[in-house]
Symmetry: C2
Subunit: 425 residues, 2 copies
Amino acid sequence: MNAFNVNEHMQALGLQAKAAAAQMARADAAIKNKALKALARRLREAGPELAEANARDIDRAVAAGLSAPMVDRLKLTPKVLATVAEGCEQLAAMPDVIGEIIGMKQMPSGIRVGQMRVPLGVFGMIFESRPNVTIEAASLAIKSGNAAILRGGSEAIESNKALALLVSESLAEVGLPVDAVQLVQTTDREAVGRLIAMPEYVDVIIPRGGKGLIERISREAKVPVIKHLDGNCHVFVDDTADIDMALKIVDNAKTQKYSPCNAAEGLLVTEAVAPKFLPRIGQVFATKGVEMRCDAAAGAIVRGAGLAAVDAVESDWSEEYLAAVISIKVVKDVDEAIAHINRYSSHHTDAIVTRDHVHAQRFLREVDSASVMVNTSTRFADGFEFGLGAEIGISTDKFHARGPVGIEGLTSLKYVVLGQGEVRS
Amino acid sequence: MNAFNVNEHMQALGLQAKAAAAQMARADAAIKNKALKALARRLREAGPELAEANARDIDRAVAAGLSAPMVDRLKLTPKVLATVAEGCEQLAAMPDVIGEIIGMKQMPSGIRVGQMRVPLGVFGMIFESRPNVTIEAASLAIKSGNAAILRGGSEAIESNKALALLVSESLAEVGLPVDAVQLVQTTDREAVGRLIAMPEYVDVIIPRGGKGLIERISREAKVPVIKHLDGNCHVFVDDTADIDMALKIVDNAKTQKYSPCNAAEGLLVTEAVAPKFLPRIGQVFATKGVEMRCDAAAGAIVRGAGLAAVDAVESDWSEEYLAAVISIKVVKDVDEAIAHINRYSSHHTDAIVTRDHVHAQRFLREVDSASVMVNTSTRFADGFEFGLGAEIGISTDKFHARGPVGIEGLTSLKYVVLGQGEVRS
């Protein structure tokens, strides 16, 4: 497919999405939920076409020499399909936020002013490998009353096309516009460049993937991007921390899973508490095979307890390991902890363990991160744990949505004004 | 000043603003309010330096042959100074929204999750001519706990420098960082290019000025822009409208002032009501010298009533006249009215006059504009009339802030999570 055709294709998708978005914005909650349930049913009852499409992608990936984990991520097993089907049903069961009116108040002029929640319009989602994201994105679009243009990874193109067909059939079944969810039909990279530069059709871009992809998209996009870069999360153990609680929290934040963005990558401990705390958490880490990259003071204590420590270098303070590695630093007090976090953290999630009310309040207010926590694990920074019902992503930006983003991140609030003939004097 | 120096200057402003922003975010409401009152006092008591600086700008403008209205906009009369001083005092009297916590709820895991309102960090404001905007922007920065970098018009540079000095003195007087509000010291245009492309220091740009300036900044900015383009606002008179009410509203929306962005530029009337309504509103417009640019049906009725009408051309439906001109179109029904508005309006403010509940609800929900109104004048779309206390601008975007933007538009919500040792299982 040449560049000219890609342009035409993207233009057509944009126009159709825009038209569908207007219809989706008007759609009743009941109809949208019916479409979600139909999609869940079609996923569960999917015929051989889907399995065959998926097999073609897998064969191609194996032939291309992709690593086993990369090939695994492509697989639409019955378990994966059941999980995304369940996700659709959960969305269907959630209350609909579109059309809600908040803060309606009467003004001195007599007019009543409030805000109505409405869909943003059209979102573009750009993602890599896992084809199940096609269904996640489609179901979010349906529930939120937006239209979506989806661009999946080239390695999953056959699976994505087969899944997108199930979405179209579900939309058609309930009388919603099939263009509400469209898949980019080409693997040409030029299509991404067009998708992120069509402000006339696309209201927001949501990239999912590696940091490189997200940085490139953010740099080149002509529309807003709900972006999640890295998660360099910290736990700070304060002077007055309950040591047993701190052990449990730091252990959980680091070792419960290594790969999530809300896992802790840095541990800060005050001078006063370090001699008591570091030998104990060091023992836990040593047992679990977690490498400790320590500043001089922390290293001395860890080694003094007969455990292995690696000398941290400057780059350790900024790194998102996503692995069995943690940086450890002894700090003088809460001031130094807050300063360190604000300098090195990725503004994702940071926690303090303390009994000191003033320190807790200062940490909450002054740490400039999307989620700030007292006496609990950074691993809770998640749309479902925060009660959002669905998670579009986690935003490390401050503009529009910040932190875990639910359906509301795909909406905007417009002012509604009700009068009885009032005019401005 | 050469390009190299401009870069260094902007870099220094950015670094200093970032450092000041952290201090401003921590500042108590009482201190910020004290700074605002000190600024009001200094504006009222301003010595000859300010008047002399302003006189130099005016002399230069006159010598350069600027038009009389342009020269007038530069003048810092005692009345202008009293008005901005009063604005500072009004902001000081407003409740402080920084640090408020909303929606705190306990989750099944035991953690409590809410959101805290915090400043965005650093905003850049770019404005033309009127030097009083320096004070408006400075006072918004102080109240909202942000730092600001201000870039005023070159024609007002001397006045802006003198005003910025009063701001610095007020900040210093109460112990707030003087770098919280900084004025770009050069009139080199390169400085604007740098200001809008420093995501490492600047969180959001607020341009105030002509559409050309705002379009250019939006296109080139590497950070989010709170932008207000044009206001092509409509009033739609529905079948069931109370004719006297419709007359009052349409008259007010069009003629109370011609220059504001929330003045009506288009009138839509249903076929059924046009023969009754158009002769009467036409009489009002004719008396006030408002030119009527009509489609064929409207033109026939207006001319039939013995009044002058101009034939509208396609471009009339999109135009923001900001003058004694209105476009008039007869539509079949509420569907055609909504479709026309969604196609041609600038998504600023649109109103329906009706007694029909279903039509009112559909108009509110389906018209894709920042402010949608029933039975009242578009002229009410304003931060003060909406009870926001202060107005940063009116956003025609959907992302982050939409419609009139108050102090909250300069803030973000971060998640706060309170635990008692809970961990993720």
